[in-house]
Symmetry: C2
């Protein structure tokens, strides 16, 4: 088991990736070997400086860097020796089992969708976010921005992908799926939600609990909350801003500390055939450590197999 | 100037409407006469009990009550002597100048749209919410649920309606309009936002500042924030739940107290020809007082005239 880690990705690279790597390697419950992508001289110097043992480490020289604001497809095409480009090449060639970067999000999306590709039957891969529930439990919201416009069947598939993730990765048995909407009863909502409702209701792979509203997001009404990427992105960024406001105003409470979404590490792209994890631009060491642990979990659990088994090419549920 | 107030509307009626009325009448800066709709015996007894002077009061007997969960059109048709039905009849006949109710929201919508009608040129009336900005200023978000599916021109019109409201009622000069979106640059977002952007940008009635994101809602980036009623309703209800969470967890801060949306009183239906204000179901006395003051402001300012002047029947901007 070998996890690829982009050492040049994120605003705080390479120092914070190194810190996360060090913590991961010192965690006796974690066992993957790690391939580090970036400028090899710089990385080797840092490994030495931080006294990181070399036995589970491989350094892959990828001296080019894709900037945070570069055009994704153009940058990937022109910078074939960048950490993200080389990472996806090796992931596609089975030389690594997962790839993690906190770098250019668009380039990570493009790499995942074009180098790794969607699982047959998955119409649209998706990204999600952890939602801290006010009772201490953990929810999942998706899509949070990859798919701004969705068809009803997309939401139906997101619910399945999210449920499998909740089950295998978050450890929630028989997760409850809810449809983000603006009313409780069936038939409420916009045209998309109205059309998606019966699909989710009839989907045998789901434990569908009906519509949920904005007021239910942080309450324990559904584990997996499904919406298009427009609504989901607004929800996520609004929640992030609540954290910022509490910080600015000196409001200290451990619940709102959970609105610091950086701590969750990163979001996997759900629906692609291999583990690809995109980190927050300002990821710190803990985030990188969490992304490495998440990648290991995605490799060692039944999550990927269950996704493959749940979808069949060309069919809808 | 005569404002109609539904005494039977809201979970806490008629006691809280009476309390709000009493406060309003004791406020020397307020001068409207008030027509009270409801069971006249009950209302008269309450007026006496609370020693409310009768000189600016008229009681209109409307003994039927439309319940909070009744079907709006059916209830309005069958209960012609209900407070909401009688209120809209008198508003349509110019016997009152504004109508306020915290009762059945759907019945209020139906009454406003069918008895009072949209201003010529307004394609879709809309409802908004105050957004407390973290720097102490006040923003406006619309639509918050009346129009779940929108066309680009609807958003353009909401921006105009919101700007006029911000200017005349909230006292914000040259209010900045922002388009709720999931990216900063023009061209980002879902199909609706992509198509709405150039309309808002070219609209001479607007001070358009571009896209805003979920993280900007509580920050002072735009005064008037425009989106479809699906996104807006989720934002509003999520913000309401933040207040609920702070209450549950004993987090006291005067900023989050502003997320108690009940204090704002109610939302006017923007784009209809006369002031119609819908209160929160659990409105207390302060909310009713605030709704009476808002109705008076809507009658006495240039707000309604400015709406009529900004729209022309059959045209788009």
């Amino acid at each position: 088991m070998n996890i690829g880690l982009d050492m040049m990705g994120g605003d705080l690279a390479p120092l914070e990736p190194i810190r996360g790597l060090s913590t991961y390697l010192n965690d006796s419950s974690q066992s993957a070997s790690i391939s580090l992508f970036g400028d090899q001289n710089q990385i080797k110097a840092l490994l030495k400086l931080h006294s990181i043992p070399s036995d589970r480490i491989r350094v892959i020289d990828a001296p080019q860097v894709i900037g945070m604001h570069e055009h994704p497809t153009k940058a990937l095409r022109e910078k074939q020796r960048s950490s993200i480009a080389v990472g996806f090449q090796m992931l596609a060639n089975n030389e690594i089992d997962a790839f993690i970067s906190a770098g250019n999000t668009g380039a990570m999306m493009v790499g995942a969708l074009f180098s790794i590709k969607a699982i047959p039957g998955v119409q649209r891969p998706t990204i999600s976010t952890i939602i801290p529930k006010e009772n201490g439990k953990t929810g999942l919201l998706l899509d949070v921005g990859l798919n701004a416009d969705c068809k009803p069947e997309n939401l139906n598939q997101f619910a399945v992908l999210g449920s499998l993730y909740a089950q295998h990765i978050l450890g929630i048995s028989n997760p409850r799926s809810g449809l983000m909407n603006i009313g409780e009863e069936e038939g409420k909502g916009n045209l998309l939600a109205q059309a998606a409702y019966p699909l989710l209701k009839e989907n045998q792979l789901l434990n569908f609990v009906g519509n949920i509203e904005g007021r239910d997001i942080f309450f324990d009404k559904a584990d997996v909350m499904v919406c298009d990427g427009f609504a989901g992105n607004i929800i996520l960024k609004m929640a992030e801003s609540i954290y910022e406001i509490t910080q600015n105003k000196g409001i200290q409470h451990r619940y709102f500390d959970l609105f610091n979404f950086e701590i969750y590490g990163g979001t996997p792209i759900l629906g692609v055939a291999k583990p690809v994890i995109i980190g927050h631009g300002i990821s710190h060491g803990t985030a990188f450590k969490n992304m490495l642990s998440l990648a290991e979990k995605m490799i060692t659990t039944e999550f990927l197999a269950s996704m493959r088994n749940s979808f069949v090419a060309g069919s809808t549920f």
